[in-house]
């Protein structure tokens, strides 16, 4: 990165901090099946009258196109923030169609899904250039040290954009948000269950604080 472009990027970061926006475009990122679409649907249910943003499924890469909803007003901490939320396809470094066949899809369906999933990952990466911040959704029952998590966090730190980690699936018995806190101690973490809605108000307060 050249001196001037690096300087411009950092200057942009300082200006953003000084003149805090009341409207922010936030991307939901994370590995496949972390619960990004479940969370996006929960946010929409709580703060809009519109339809769900997407369908959820136990088969990985159910979301293969980024979906955006504009103008969601979230009230928390006595203030309000207007959000555009972008539910992005799950990020991955490998996609093998045989993985989908194990869920009962035919070979043809699996190959089609694999092709669309690769396009979805590219789309998720392209969206990083157009966001004001990221909600990184992690499955609290899984090892947090995945390369997807490390890469998304590294990119947000390099761009000096705000990041909030959502430790999802707290409704499951083996959920361990403390593993996530230990892995990424420099970032704020909110444990929730997007499925059941537990602790969701804490997330809205954190969103207002981080992105407002």
């Amino acid at each position: 990165m050249g001196f001037m472009s690096s300087f411009r990027e950092n200057l942009g970061g300082w200006i953003r901090k000084i003149f805090k926006k009341k409207r922010a475009r936030i991307g939901l990122y994370g590995p496949p099946n972390a619960g990004k679409t479940t969370l996006a649907n929960r946010i929409l249910k709580d703060w809009s009258t519109g339809d769900a943003i997407g369908t959820v499924s136990p088969i990985p890469h159910e979301t293969r196109r980024a979906m955006r909803r504009e103008g969601l007003v979230i009230n928390a901490n006595g203030s309000s923030i207007e959000l555009d939320i972008v539910d992005t396809p799950g990020m991955a470094t490998k996609i093998d169609f045989k993985e989908f066949m194990a869920f009962g899809l035919s070979e043809t369906e699996s190959k089609k899904r694999a092709k669309e999933a690769t396009e979805g990952v590219i789309e998720a990466i392209k969206w990083l250039d157009d966001l004001d911040g990221v909600l990184l959704v992690m499955d609290s029952t899984e090892d947090p040290y995945t390369q997807v998590n490390v890469t998304v966090i590294g990119n947000m730190e390099a761009r000096k954009l705000p990041l909030l980690i959502v430790a999802n699936k707290m409704d499951l018995p083996n959920a361990s948000p403390s593993r996530i806190s230990a892995a990424f101690p420099q970032h704020s973490i909110v444990p929730i269950s997007a499925l059941e809605g537990s602790n969701i108000d804490d997330l809205y307060q954190a969103i207002a604080t981080h992105f407002g």
């Binding site: 490998k94 093998d96 490390v150 966090i153 590294g154 990119n155 730190e157 000096k160 892995a183």
Partner: protein, 122 residues
């Protein structure tokens, strides 16, 4: 009788990486990994290079030929001088292991250690 199989591993020094552009690094990694080699980068990639590597990997996935990569690195480390940090050069890449997804599997990873298993076979 025990059959000995080979694992081809390329360890690339920080000096070599410093003299390459991002695109050259990504092309070098993918060309090696697609032929079944494991690549170890002494100083790793920048966060932007990591994401571009994933992007390029997605465009090269082919059914029954190449299903992607396994990449393991540690979280970025803040470093450099005060001026480096001001101008956004404070994040240092760290040692990174990259291999074909069907050959390299992570056993355990934490802040200080990456344990991987390399499968050798067909």
């Amino acid at each position: 009788m025990i059959l000995m199989r080979e694992v081809h591993m390329d360890l690339i020094s920080e000096e070599k990486l410093e003299n390459m552009t991002s695109m050259e690094k990504i092309r070098l990694i993918l060309d090696k990994v697609k032929t079944g080699k494991i690549v170890v980068l002494e100083s790793g990639l920048t966060p932007d290079e990591e994401v571009r590597l994933i992007e390029m990997t997605m465009t090269e996935i082919r059914v029954d030929e190449f299903s992607g990569i396994e990449i393991e690195s540690y979280p970025s480390k803040k470093g450099g001088s005060f001026l480096d940090r001001i101008f956004g050069k404070g994040l240092k890449g760290r040692m990174t292991v990259i291999g074909p997804a069907n050959q390299i599997h992570t056993i355990e990873k934490d802040e200080f250690q990456i344990r991987t298993k390399v499968s050798v076979g067909d």
